[in-house]
Amino acid sequence: MFPAVEPWVVLSFCSAIFFVGLFGLLVRRNLLIILMSIELMLNAVNLTYVTFSHQLSSMAGQMSVFFIIVVAAAESAVGLGLVIAMYRTLKSVDTDEITLLKD
């Protein structure tokens, strides 16, 4: 019923998710949503790795994904710590409010 899934379809899907994340990163001002957009972009890159690993029948891609997941976990823990510290100081998670060095 459907044609077989070509590699470029999977890779294009990855880039679509990546650019949705990039759009969110550029447009949104809420720090939490920005962190979520970064997670989306990291996931898109992971899927690209796995697709190439499948296509080239090599395991290096899946090993890289394992390490990227570890880095992403550490990144989101530190990022959310930053969000809490910022909310405690400014009572807001809006990136426009970060003007402490301005005045």
């Binding site: 969110g24 395991m59 570890v70």
Partner: protein, 191 residues
């Protein structure tokens, strides 16, 4: 690529795409977080379709389990009842430019991916070979504790640094702590 089921792939891909757009566009952070959970589960489905079973499990455990719990916890902790109207507030021309640039880059990537021919199968790990060697998880584990042992050990240092950093950031310290302890002392003495 021919062995993966097209129906399942398009189902997961459509779900992931729709809910990632919702993640970015929703005003309420809680709604964004729960859309992101569905995106993560769809990605796990696609990993399983591509034969990466250990990565699919890690995706559900780490992303949908740990990271999303952390996100939802922080959203609830911050008690931001009022939805953020940041999307409406950012200037229209900037939104339009960002969307245009992202879409143009996406079209460029699709063109590149489409026009590069089928790459040769270089590695020894074809799906039949992986099956014969005892499955995806076994092959990855053997690689991880032989060839990739150094980066694997280094991740423990990274995670330790992450733990220390997040505790140091989220801890209440400095004048706030002194003030609260002083308040505690004064309330005790007044009693």
């Amino acid at each position: 690529m021919s062995e993966i089921s097209p129906v399942a792939f398009y189902l997961f891909a459509g779900m992931a795409l729709a809910f990632s757009v919702l993640t970015v566009l929703k005003k309420n952070p809680v709604a964004s977080a729960f859309s992101l959970v569905i995106v993560f589960f769809s990605f796990a489905g696609i990993y399983a379709l591509l034969g990466a079973h250990l990565v699919a499990t890690m995706q559900i455990l780490v992303y949908a389990g740990a990271i999303m719990v952390l996100f939802v916890f922080v959203v609830m902790l911050l008690n931001s009842d009022s939805p953020s109207f940041d999307f409406r507030r950012s200037p229209l021309i900037f939104r339009f430019a960002a969307g245009l640039v992202c879409f143009a880059m996406f079209v460029l990537f699709v063109k590149v991916f489409r026009e590069t021919g089928p790459s040769p199968s270089v590695g020894p790990f074809t799906s039949a070979a992986v099956e014969a060697a005892g499955g995806n998880t076994r092959v990855i584990s053997e690689l991880m504790f032989s060839e990739y042992i150094l980066p694997f050990e280094l991740t423990s240092i990274l995670l330790l640094a992450g733990i220390v950093g997040s505790v140091a950031l989220a801890k209440r310290h400095g004048s706030a702590e002194k003030a609260s302890s002083k308040k505690g002392v004064s309330s005790v003495s007044s009693r």
